[in-house]
């Protein structure tokens, strides 16, 4: 069925993505990620010496500060901070710099739906810009369900009914070709790092969201890699 979305996109189409890095010169790493009108600016400072009380000193710790566009900091911001912290912890190599703290500060510049995936993508790009060692990249996407029960990708704020924010890993491309795997295991990119849903949905629709999300994430991964690689020859050393 031809679905008319408010801005004329078809159900499987994402809003235009834009990523620019190295915007803040005082920060060790920074990135700005935008999906249509949803824009998030991420700044990374670290690794700094010392961990917070109660954290394991044998591992690096990640601290996330979320600044909303307007209003005071409340429970919603704390929830985003915790989700982001746990997601970023699982992609960073924590044993490389033990007993250090890396701070990721996020500023919401525009919010038009799919805010959490935009923030995760921005913080990942900022971590790469800062040179923090990562196991692999993480790409995030938001899948929504309309009232009629059909699936749309990257919903805007008005379209947000029942949504699933999904984060998948983006494994490094290997130089050595992988041996053929005869087992029926799913490839690495299919594992879910983070999934946060809002609104009730039938179980099958959730699995459809997963399928569509994985397919769309491979496209976002390509975009990510291209934008990271294009900056490499011109990138001046941060130490200077």
């Amino acid at each position: 069925m031809g679905m008319d979305r408010g801005d004329g996109r078809n159900p499987n189409q994402m809003r235009p993505l834009a990523c620019s890095r190295n915007l803040l010169h005082r920060a060790h790493g920074s990135a700005r990620w935008s999906q249509g009108n949803t824009i998030v600016l991420a700044g990374v400072y670290g690794p700094k010496a010392g961990t917070r009380k109660g954290e394991n000193p044998e591992l690096a710790s990640i601290e996330v500060i979320w600044k909303p566009k307007t209003g005071q900091i409340g429970k919603q911001e704390k929830e985003y901070e915790i989700i982001l912290r746990r997601t970023l912890r699982s992609i960073c190599l924590l044993t490389v710099h033990p007993n250090t703290t890396t701070s990721v500060i996020l500023q919401v510049v525009g919010d038009d739906g799919a805010l959490l995936p935009c923030a995760i993508n921005a913080s990942c790009a900022a971590l790469v810009d800062a040179g923090i060692p990562l196991k692999h990249l993480a790409v995030a996407i938001c899948c929504g369900l309309t009232e009629q029960g059909s699936l749309i990708l990257d919903p805007t704020k008005i379209e947000e009914q029942a949504i699933a924010n999904l984060v998948f890993p983006n494994p490094p491309t290997s130089v050595i070709p992988k041996g053929s795997s005869t087992s029926a295991e799913e490839p690495f990119e299919h594992g879910i790092i983070t999934s946060v849903t809002h609104g009730a949905m039938p179980v099958d629709d959730y699995f459809n969201c997963l399928e569509r999300g994985r397919a769309a994430c491979s496209k976002i991964s390509e975009f990510f890699r291209k934008s990271l690689q294009s900056d490499l020859p011109d990138n001046a050393s941060k130490a200077s």
Partner: protein, 302 residues
């Protein structure tokens, strides 16, 4: 101490010390046989009890224990003017407290970072599942409606806090009886207590009797811990400390998936793991529904 190349427990070291020093290896001995150290099978949740109405000063309350995790939920209703754009709907405010009594990690100057997160998750789940029909909370359209204050106190934090909190909220709502209200001469709507009712018989009552709310569907949740290939249902605080990948699945009595919450973690969940977690959650939801229905009928007998 003899250096062992295999993973056998050294005879000289006490089991307790081994449990503290190498918790993950201690657990892996048991996980291979699909049990936990206290002989609970991996897919089983801890013993759950619900007690309705422990607090008499509020309109609805419930005390829930899942293993050692204890939650006390209390609901108070207050009359308020509804918002201009939603004149027929009541309102809900959810708050989750972790006082220092529940865990040694919380002190008055060091609030738990989990508390606002669980509080937000609870209000999201209760609103998404459509459990409460807000139109039912309206008294006089545009002028008066009920504001529901749900407060949940954690009295003992031993893992699976969200599960226990949600169950206590659902149980408290099942126990809730909407108080009687009357309109006085100035047009103000006030609540009527028992003594007032006996003295003034000409009070005009807006609702005739203390009614219970009706629910479209009840949400129940199950938290699972993922480690390697194992799925541990309903983890204790000790297990949550050692293994960090938690998945919380909330299903409702209509069979819909209300929420699937997985925030990071070392283990990546693939489709088969997600399917298993959802199946475990559905089984647990049926169990919890039975326990809730039993405690409601027990209370009504009294």
């Amino acid at each position: 101490m003899a250096a062992n190349s295999s993973l056998e427990i050294d005879g000289d070291m006490e089991v307790d010390a081994f449990r503290r020093l190498f918790p993950l290896r201690y657990y892996e001995h048991y996980l291979g046989q699909s049990v936990r150290p206290d002989a609970r099978p991996l897919a089983h949740a801890r013993e759950t009890t619900i007690s309705l109405g422990p607090v008499t000063s509020v309109d609805g309350s419930a005390l829930v224990k899942i293993g050692e995790t204890t939650m006390l939920a209390a609901i108070k209703l207050e009359v308020m003017t509804p918002a201009a754009d939603l004149p027929d709907k009541g309102c809900l405010a959810v708050d989750f407290y972790m006082p220092p009594v529940c865990t040694p990690n919380v002190r008055p100057g060091r609030p738990a970072e989990a508390a606002p997160v669980i509080s937000k998750q609870l209000s999201d789940v209760i609103l998404s599942s459509g459990m409460i029909n807000f139109e039912e909370l309206s008294l006089i359209s545009g002028k008066a409606a009920w504001m529901v204050y749900l407060d949940i106190y954690c009295l003992n934090a031993d893992g699976s806090l969200f599960d226990a909190a949600l169950l206590s909220a659902v149980a408290a709502f099942s126990h809730l009886k909407v108080p009687l209200v009357s309109v006085n001469d100035n047009g103000r709507v006030t609540t009527v207590t028992g003594e007032l009712l006996e003295s003034k018989s000409e009070l005009e009552l807006v609702n005739k009797e203390r009614r219970k709310l009706s629910f479209k569907s009840l949400p129940f949740s199950l938290t699972c811990l993922l480690h390697d290939k194992y799925i541990l249902a309903d983890p204790t605080a000790e297990e949550e400390d050692i293994m960090d990948t938690l998945v919380t699945v909330v299903v409702d009595s209509l069979g819909r998936l209300v929420s699937l919450y997985k925030a990071g973690g070392v283990v990546l969940a693939n489709t088969s793991t997600v399917k298993d977690c959802i199946a475990l959650a559905k089984r647990r939801a049926a169990e919890l529904h039975n326990i809730l229905v039993e405690s409601i009928s027990e209370m009504e007998v009294d």
